[in-house]
Symmetry: C2
Subunit: 482 residues, 2 copies
């Protein structure tokens, strides 16, 4: 028998939206960093001895430890026979494990949950939201437990993707943005309506700019959604309550559903800044817009990225539409039950008087204080450099500094077919082992150049990184300014 005919799939006959899609956070620069790590391990002589991966918001990879209470609960949920008889395990951990397993089919995290997640955890999420928002009610039946926050966005966008007469669905996305949004829009063949965040104003949303973007899209798409990321990724901004109120009014005036990516709600660093949920501000305004709010186990003080826990609250949706959404997600059966249990720990942490309270508070406070220190150090170090300017890292885990790239470097980049910010970031990686993501992966005003760095390397590594970055940057300026 002969071997085979031509392959069924080739670049020319697969989904062109996916061929075109980009996801810079895991793009060529991080891929090159992984290669460099391999080369170092194999004994290669490079200008550095460690690669510092400041390209992704992955706390544990950068040395943060899991919160003991969360880990004890998850670990015991998987092997309860041993754990529940262990006298060294705190009683509130055991109690939590009994509650969670009691809500699992057959008392096992190995059974499927309801597609929207375990009921009691959804109820706890609703209680958390209501408490967070000063008593604004939350209905547990609006809460869906998801595999990280990404799954909720992808499913929701698929649901509302409904091109009519060749006119695609439009989604308003901030620039710069987290590339999950552009990637999903691209994959689904939707239209991205880009609005620029106001860099001169700590990355606030300027309503005139929202308006400009929406007008410009007229006729090219049917706008349905306004995405806001607060605290900001990649910007590290925190929106004021007044700004949020303006945005809500804009969405109402233009009949837009708001997707509020609020996964960094625990990560507030700047003095005077505070997290306000879109839901709370909406309630205070007495407005009832459709709102999808996202939260994740991956960020905050817990940083449990690999666990894949998250939730989405769907407020003020037409019940018929919500029913379709619930049917839609049933085909993936359920999100990881361990991730659901992690969400339970996050929305219902130990309370004062519980045996685990003191340690939990200590660990949580230490992580947040340490991140706050790194946020401030990032801001001050970057702003101390000629040709680098960042807004304060007010929240989240990132800085998105603007860099002036000398004309000669722009020409050198063009000569090798690279964008100048990519060229800069690639040189940074090759010369220092520091891996950050070029601004072009998130979007930026044409002709301006940025990169995104996380604030996540542990304090000693972080100090080394800042030193090496300074040296690189000055050398780069010198090389191309001469």
């Amino acid at each position: 028998m002969s071997e085979n005919s031509k392959p069924v799939l080739s670049l020319s006959n697969i989904n062109e939206n996916i061929v075109k899609m980009e996801y810079a956070v895991r793009g060529p620069i991080p891929a090159r960093a992984v290669e460099l790590i391999r080369e170092l391990k194999a004994g290669a002589q490079l200008p550095f001895t460690e690669v510092i991966r400041a390209n992704i918001g992955d706390c544990h990879m950068m040395g943060e430890k899991g919160i003991t209470f969360i880990r004890q609960v998850l670990s015991a949920c998987l092997h309860p026979e041993a754990a529940l008889n262990d006298p060294s395990l705190p009683e509130d951990v055991k109690e939590r494990v009994r509650t969670l397993l009691g809500a699992c089919g057959g008392g096992s995290v190995g059974s499927y949950s309801d597609s929207a997640g375990i009921e009691i955890i959804r109820r706890h999420v609703a209680e958390y939201i209501s408490e967070r928002d000063g008593g604004v009610p939350s209905d547990w039946q609006n809460v869906v437990l998801t595999s990280g926050a990404s799954e909720g966005v992808k499913a929701l966008f698929a649901l509302l993707n409904s091109p009519t007469d060749g006119i695609p669905t439009g989604i308003m996305v901030p620039i710069p943005q987290y590339p999950l949004y552009s990637a999903t829009i691209s994959e689904l063949g939707m239209h991205q309506i880009s609005y620029y965040l106001d860099e001169e104003n700590e990355w606030a949303l300027d309503i005139n700019e929202l308006d400009r973007a929406l007008r410009e899209a007229e006729g090219t798409c049917k706008p349905k959604v306004l995405v806001v990321i607060n605290p900001g990724n990649p910007t590290g901004s925190v929106l004021t309550k007044e700004n949020i109120a303006q945005i809500i009014k804009f969405a109402r005036a233009n009949n837009l559903l708001i997707v509020a990516d609020e996964v960094y709600q625990h990560n507030i660093w700047k003095e005077g800044a505070a997290f306000f949920s879109f839901k709370q501000v909406m309630a205070e305004l007495g407005v009832k817009l459709e709102l999808a709010s996202l939260m994740s186990a991956s960020k905050g003080y817990m940083g449990e990225c690999g666990i894949r826990g998250g939730y989405m609250e769907m407020e003020h949706f037409d019940p018929a539409v919500k029913a379709v959404f619930f049917k839609q997600i049933s085909a993936r059966l359920c999100s990881p039950v361990i991730g659901q249990c992690a969400i339970d720990c996050i929305v219902r942490p130990p309370r004062e008087g519980d045996p685990s309270y003191e340690l939990f508070q200590k660990e949580k406070t230490a992580v947040l204080a340490s991140l706050k220190g790194r946020a401030q150090l990032t801001t001050s170090t970057l702003n101390s450099l000629e040709g680098v300017r960042t807004n304060p890292v007010a929240g989240a885990m990132y800085s998105f500094p603007r860099i002036s790239i000398p004309e000669a470097a722009v020409r050198a980049a063009e000569a090798v077919g690279q964008k100048p910010d990519f060229f800069y970031v690639k040189a940074l990686l090759e010369e220092t082992g520091i891996c950050v993501v070029p601004g072009s992966g998130f979007g930026q005003i044409p002709g301006t150049w940025h990169f995104r760095t996380t604030i996540l390397p542990q304090p000693d590594t972080f100090a080394r990184m800042m030193d090496r970055f300074k040296a690189f940057h000055l050398g780069f300026l010198q090389k191309y300014q001469s």
Copy 2:
């Protein structure tokens, strides 16, 4: 401020493919079962005191326990400090935990993995496949770790979905089929080419029928994929090696990519039956077709549904296409790391001489022997009834019996706007508390009626279920034959 304008999303302006999509395994019958459970809990007087959920292949929900080795490893990966110092934990468990955590960023399962999964686990999967297939080589770089098997199918179908000039992509799907396939095809707006399995021949694939289905689809779509589920869901069939060889030749002759859903590869019950992977048979034939083979942590002897572990091996794909697929899945970051660790345990179970070997073998053998007994009992009980006829449950976890529904019952069903099999299954649930899924949820030859039951209730429950089913069925015949 006023309340709000009209909602953005309504049934008439969202994705109509998703509005139309069906997923019977979690459809109205299982939803009604959940209601009945609530009613029983609330003290309602019903004709039964327990609901038996035979609608879904969820072993742990039905009382199966997790395998100790797997649970010890997963539990310890989440809280290694305690576990690695626990003298009661077997050394091979500790060794495995050290290996797995050593491969995680920062030594934590809380960090993201590579999008395709942790390299060492992908290598172990490849070794497992090669050993399973009598030495046929497997390249770890073709292995992608997924959130259950479903995620792989959904991503692959999205990738190859490429309508041209209004002609949709065609996917050949067996009837009856597992509704993940029809639901995904429907969601993506692709064309389902249904081929009927040969019920008279233990649900084998008849090449003439494949040919008929493909010809009939000519002009309506561009066929790209042939889906085969072996062992069969919902049929409980196991394909012979000869049949697999015929199918491969058919796929080659018609330039089709094969998706081999092989998640039940450990679940073989019938004497003389054996599992042969499509990959192995392909290698023996010397054929090099594109093949995506699926495996899951949810089935087999482990039944870890809630953990969401799985893999897909992508054999003979164009490297450029595979690169696009890897980029595509990077936007969801990674599958649950705990699910990946479960896959590691499954593909590299304790070996003879390891401290955990004896207990592992004992537990695995006991689960499989017990399931085998229930498979045989299902077959014999159902076939002992007038008007019920099932093929032997040769593999997987299901029987898909054909039922003769009396004319009077067909009319009674029509009178309430229900399909006769739905009507039958609904009555079964309301009268006995037994929840199975109507055949129409999987597809069947028009005018024939079936249901799918799992073989998963534990032996004592299972015996009660068979007794109650018998009584119901006889009563149903009596009621509608008079």
